[in-house]
Symmetry: C2
Subunit: 467 residues, 2 copies
Amino acid sequence: MVQATALPRNEAGIETTMGILKQQFGERFQTGKSIREQHGHTTTWIENQPPDAVVFPHTSQEVADIVKVCATHKVPIIAFGVGTSLEGHVNAPAGGISVDMSQMNQILAVYPEDLNCVVQPGVTREQLNTHLRDMGLFFPIDPGANATIGGMTATRASGTNAVRYGTMKDNVIALEAVMADGRIIKTAQRAKKSSAGYDLTRLLVGSEGTLAMITGITLRLQGIPEAMASARCSFPTVDAACQAVMATIQYGVPVARMELLDTASVAAVNAYSKLDLPESPLLLLEFHGSEASVAEQSATFGEIAEEVGGTGFEWTTNAEERTRLWKARHDYYWATMQISPGKAGIATDVCVPISRLAECVARNNDMIEELGLVGLVVGHVGDGNFHTTILVDMADKDEVSRAEEFVGRLNDLAISMDGTCTGEHGIGQGKRPYLKRELGAATDVMASIKAALDPDGIFNPGKILST
Amino acid sequence: MVQATALPRNEAGIETTMGILKQQFGERFQTGKSIREQHGHTTTWIENQPPDAVVFPHTSQEVADIVKVCATHKVPIIAFGVGTSLEGHVNAPAGGISVDMSQMNQILAVYPEDLNCVVQPGVTREQLNTHLRDMGLFFPIDPGANATIGGMTATRASGTNAVRYGTMKDNVIALEAVMADGRIIKTAQRAKKSSAGYDLTRLLVGSEGTLAMITGITLRLQGIPEAMASARCSFPTVDAACQAVMATIQYGVPVARMELLDTASVAAVNAYSKLDLPESPLLLLEFHGSEASVAEQSATFGEIAEEVGGTGFEWTTNAEERTRLWKARHDYYWATMQISPGKAGIATDVCVPISRLAECVARNNDMIEELGLVGLVVGHVGDGNFHTTILVDMADKDEVSRAEEFVGRLNDLAISMDGTCTGEHGIGQGKRPYLKRELGAATDVMASIKAALDPDGIFNPGKILST
């Protein structure tokens, strides 16, 4: 485990707060060790820092009640979705109350004509899409995990089809939120666009529970396209694959997904899934549109790929065949876990301008080799975002230390290329030192905003900013 | 003229500041009456409140120098692009220094492979697009006026093709800005997406010069599409036109522009431009894509339109014919000005969920009639955003008063429909009372942010917030 710094605890305040909340919430207030540990962070190599209690509100007003109690007694309050975040976001370094949103899981309204809906924060991505399917609608953001909409909003999540549909910042229309004084605000109306004052919606999207508790989300939706095509193509080098990606985007092909697997990743899925893909960089693509449009998009990509040396290009709209073409991606996680059973997979998350992507991946691979590590690359290549999974024996202190060095060097490399240390996972606890290196004095402006909106620092302390 | 409230002036501070700036900027520091009045607001019915001086910086460091002097002496500082904003944004109710960005008009870098560029704030939209054309690129946001990129950023502008390309919030990747203490920050790197901390980029987009001075803008660009098609179609009612719009968007047709003219507007352009369009609601459309794709998009729209009673549908990719089809829109402004020569045209800017648009336009027209006014509607209908132009004799106090009542009732109507009092023009001075009605307690959160980032209130006082 990588150690997370503990922060000073307000024992008296925590005790008083727990007494009050127990009275109000009864069985919906829990203090068992395992439930508390489950609400500290478990999906990464960052040490678990459990909260003192977990409370399960049902309404925005109940969240406001909790915030008021915690504010009065200056006790930390940490929003929890399903716990799939990756940088220690839900840890409780100063103790306090975890507010589990899983019982605030109502889809409050769907407006098919307006292509939007209003949900509570505990609604999961899959729950929402199941609900929408019969209306011919879907919510496009897909970070992989079946995260909650609240959690995805708080971390500014994106994923495989951000290249076409954007990230959470582009798909949240308005928020309801509880501020540090317990007031419930709405950040915007349901109109598709607005120039009415400061964009509080996007200030809260990606704020990781440090400025407010998100209690309602108005989301943009999409009509389910008439046709979806999947495609794949191998390339001699990552650089050639990136050339194809840049030309495709510049040409205006509205690709829905465009995923890169490097040679090591392709080898891993070949071994795990008994595939016989050429062991060279692979692009997997998805196109959305009318039957004619996805055929044209596929053909255009095929021509572009061929010009830069792409081989084995295949595309299809047949559902079974689509699954077959994308098998390498669907099995990717399990394939990486298979390489060194027992080792943990540690995910990085850099994002650079696409023109620098091939160079960044090449230097990433050099660093892996120099440090004697095993690492694989999968990338949301249309956005210049890639994840290196480093396989680490957590009992091997030297390997952990080399992995930490790798993560640091990769983040610094991305920053030096005008990129970011986090394309979609957020800062949490793990990336705080890099935020300052990336944005310098802007982090002081962030700290001013934090101090203005949460003067006692009750919301998710120890995250994003170093204070 | 509609009166704007004057705010207390800091005479001593202004005098000292002017002396210091005159020394540093020489001929680039101007105090003539006409140049000052030109830098107060002139494009609306809001009274002109000229600044005390106008200064023309060349660099971000010079802007920082100006801010530091103004901060030391607590003197207002107002950013100025080309003065096309519509709600009194550049007025100086407490006097102070107008910072004219017109000489900071360098396109600093274009990255064709990354589809982005970096510009100074005084670059105009047309200047940028002229520069980009030979590279096969364009910047899509088109608010009509040849505004500066800085001004468009500050007001969160959008316009006719926001339905496809979004608003400024979706097309600014990063900003350089001077904060109230004179520090220069960058809000993000040039990577296409990021989850690194609070979204300061979008906090400044739409902040109307009240939180910082924007000195550099990194913009997303688009490849010029292979083909553009224009189309038009008449409808029996606004409701039928809106039904066609909703179905088209829901079907996933990626329309680039979709403009509604109501019957009064069509009559006006028929008279002015000698057209013989049926005097009923008209939709004008534009499609971007490959030759095959724009043909398919046009055909799909044509079928949808026919189902709801659309008539006279025409589409073309021929450049001359495209101009002919859209003539009604291109001549729209002049056609409205022709109806009652000498009267001023006052523009409203409400935006509602599309499902409420037809009802909102109908009630808009009822109110115009009840108040004995002449008004015409043009709408960015794919976004639910429309502008009513009210023709007002500014010497007729009663007409001015009825027009003011109309604007207020229309804003309140939009707000009651979960819409906004401003889709794209911003709050400025003119819409401050409606912001509170629209967003309630959220405006207090905005005020907290303002107080934290600009404690002395030097940046564009009297705008957005009531203080």
